[in-house]
């Protein structure tokens, strides 16, 4: 075990993966010599050579196109998109190509080796274009897996699992936590399961559900609610696609109440899918409507970031509203 921050644990996971399998290759803008603008790929070029860790030209569609090709050839590319906000030029390569590669070819070819890493989320005073949480844009796409870790330990285990999963995975990294989140991380190689949620706190009154950086917020709200005698169950979804319906439904059936929280705008965010599915599968158990505490329907604002954020007080108010419904 060592103490690592989230960035270090990601760097460590990449190092572990590259050491274990020479098919693993890391690239993206500024990823090579410099080690990435956040330094997630630090020292990998030194260790594994320019062939396996390198800068690309500044073209996200090219990065993912190139990665799709490498993956279909049998490599395991780990492509970095510098900010989640800049993943959209690669949207066609991801949604029309990556996601459909195996299906359309009848499994003659696949890009299962591909992992796309990208920092997402607010809290760094980054405004419109350094703050978005684009997971829901991909969640409507069969063929992709989507994973979001909440802390350094989770990050290493989930990233190793993503790289080795025989399906393309988009791995969203909560950049607000890159240096802020520090914890014990095993030095050895380990994987955490994709598609499985984790109940991080058991409770009986209300289920709180989130992923990534938002886990801190709902956990804080759970503590606030505890003082009012409300006992929250807190779940980290961890994977957006495929998502662990059973765990979430079971918890909701137990508590009768579900609150989902994400930073992205509320309309058609992934909270919508969760609410739609759970109201169907837990209908007779619900004692209050499923509530969503999310960003409002505006581009991510700079000066009103504090107001925009689905913070702990907002989640706490929703908990009370749910209990008092």
């Amino acid at each position: 075990m060592s103490q690592m921050n989230l960035l270090q644990s990601i760097n460590n996971a990449l190092d572990t993966a590259m050491a274990a399998d020479d098919k693993v290759v890391c690239f993206g803008e500024d990823v090579g010599h410099f080690g990435g603008v956040f330094r997630a790929t630090s020292h990998l070029q030194e260790k594994y050579g320019r062939g396996r860790c390198f800068n690309t030209p500044l073209t996200e569609q090219g990065i993912i196109g190139f990665a799709n090709g490498m993956a279909s050839q049998g490599h395991k590319p780990v492509a970095e998109i510098q900010f989640g906000d800049y993943i959209f030029p690669a949207f066609d390569q991801i949604v029309n190509e990556t996601a459909k590669f195996r299906y359309r070819s009848g499994n003659e070819f696949n890009v299962g080796g591909l992992t796309i890493r990208t920092p997402y989320g607010g809290g760094i005073r980054g405004g419109h274009y350094h703050s978005q949480s684009p997971e829901a844009y991909f969640a409507h796409t069969p063929g992709l897996k989507i994973v979001v870790p909440r802390n350094p330990h989770q990050a290493k285990g989930l990233l190793l699992a993503s790289i080795r999963d025989d399906n393309p995975v988009i791995f969203f990294e909560p950049k607000r936590l890159y240096r802020a989140s520090v914890g014990d991380v095993p030095e050895e190689d380990y994987e955490l399961p994709i598609g499985v949620a984790e109940v991080v706190r058991e409770g009986k009154d209300v289920t709180l559900l989130a992923w990534g950086a938002q886990m801190e917020i709902i956990s804080e709200a759970a503590v606030m609610a505890e003082k009012d005698g409300i006992d929250c169950e807190v779940i980290d979804l961890r994977s957006i696609l495929p998502w662990d319906i059973d765990t979430v439904v079971a918890s909701t059936q137990k508590t009768g109440r579900l609150i989902v929280s994400h930073e992205a705008p509320i309309t058609n965010g992934f909270g919508a899918e969760i609410a739609a599915t759970v109201q169907e599968q837990a209908f007779l158990y619900l004692e209050a409507p499923i509530m969503r505490v999310c960003g409002i329907d505006v581009p991510f604002p700079l000066s009103h970031e504090t107001e925009y954020m689905p913070d702990a007080t907002k989640v706490y108010e929703a908990i009370k509203a749910s209990v008092n419904y």
Partner: protein
């Protein structure tokens, strides 16, 4: 560092005037100064067989679409030499990324008549499991990456594929075919620039056939065609007469050597003309003249190649008739069988979305099957085989 000038002066689009490489005249004789690539008789005849097979296949399948037997087809009429000639210069370990008008390359690699038919009829033997429209072929065993409709996406993919081959130290390149229309997509720019900078041994072969559906190349780009862009990327570039199989063959052979030796990409622009409609959904009379078509029909690449074979004494009229007749027969026979084969079983609807179906997908399939059982007449093609 570039040299200095002290008066402002523009470099214009005609600064490069890229010549066209030609070997064969239409009558089958060689241009002065040209030399034949080294093709032995058997191989030369095999290429002719490929050309004729594709022409007959295209004709037959356009017909099948008109009869409503398949929903769609897309012929390569007039462009057969570009794909057959280039594929012939490659090795079987070289990967092919095609656009959709390169059935010639696939035939050359050994895709069987049944495989063509099974794909076009989306039946249960289709390697693609009936999931894509006709002509979206793909075959792992033949190193032919499955075709995808969104244009240009294969270009950076090919660069990445070749990079992977290079990392493994293989004696192999990747060829990437695309139209001059697709070359306007952002993915073209990304793919060529990345291949150049990252030194991927990729042969980019642009089929410039004058049109992207109804859009003539004059409304697609200015400048000197697609070839002139190669220079901007620092990519070795060559323009070739796409209706001249021998020139295409020699150019691709040179390109393969260059790519392997320099571990770097090459761009070939093959000048040709789409003699038929864009696809069975298209009618070119709305946007171009019969005269223009007739002018190009005279440059038929198959005829040109046949004249060369004849000149060499390797071919005669009798063989010609026999070849067409035999291909017609094989194709028709295969077609009749393929259209009777059942479509893939309903289970295939959820396979291959992931390496193994997720619980959600299994649940969705279960519900779908239950529904089909309730309304078997509504789903005649699958309801009889739910449990088989």
């Amino acid at each position: 560092m570039s040299k200095s000038i002290h008066k402002p002066g523009f470099i214009l689009g005609d600064a490069l005037d890229i010549p066209t490489f030609r070997v064969l005249k239409q009558d089958g004789t060689l241009y002065k100064g040209a030399s034949e690539p080294d093709l032995d008789k058997d191989f030369a005849l095999k290429l002719y067989d490929d050309l004729v097979f594709i022409r007959v296949l295209d004709e037959r399948m356009v017909g099948a679409q008109r009869q409503g037997r398949i929903p769609f087809y897309l012929a390569s009429l007039g462009e057969e030499a570009a794909s057959v000639g280039s594929a012939a210069a490659l090795q079987s370990q070289d990967m092919i990324f095609a656009q959709y008008r390169e059935q010639g390359a696939l035939r050359h690699r050994g895709f069987t008549v049944d495989q063509f038919m099974d794909q076009c009829f989306s039946n249960e033997r289709d390697l693609g499991k009936g999931r894509q429209m006709p002509i979206h072929y793909g075959c792992k065993a033949l190193n032919y990456n499955t075709i995808s409709s969104p244009l240009g996406t294969q270009i950076p993919q090919a660069a990445g594929y070749a990079y992977g081959q290079k990392l493994e130290g293989l004696d192999a390149v990747t060829i990437c075919y695309f139209g001059e229309g697709a070359a306007s997509e952002g993915d073209f720019h990304a793919g060529l620039n990345m291949a150049a900078v990252l030194k991927s041994p990729t042969i980019f072969l642009c089929r410039n056939n004058g049109y992207a559906i109804s859009t003539p190349s004059s409304e697609q780009f200015l400048g000197d065609g697609v070839a002139s862009r190669g220079v901007g990327y620092g990519i070795a570039t060559l323009r070739v007469d796409g209706n001249d199989l021998l020139a295409v063959y020699a150019a691709t052979q040179a390109a393969r050597e260059y790519a392997l030796e320099h571990q770097a990409p090459v761009l070939i622009e093959a000048m040709s003309y789409r003699l038929g409609a864009h696809s069975t959904s298209d009618d070119p009379t709305g946007y171009r003249s019969k005269e223009e078509e007739a002018k190009w029909a005279k440059k038929d690449p198959i005829l040109r190649y046949k004249h060369w074979l004849t000149e060499k004494g390797w071919w005669n009229d009798e063989e010609e008739k026999a070849l067409y007749a035999s291909h017609r027969e094989t194709i028709l026979a295969s077609l009749k069988l393929a259209e009777k084969r059942p479509m893939p079983k309903i289970d295939e609807i959820i396979n291959d979305v992931y390496d193994t179906p997720t619980p959600q997908l299994q649940q969705q399939l279960k519900q779908l099957k239950a529904h089909i059982r309730k309304y078997p007449d509504k789903y005649p093609k699958t309801s009889g085989r739910l449990d088989a």
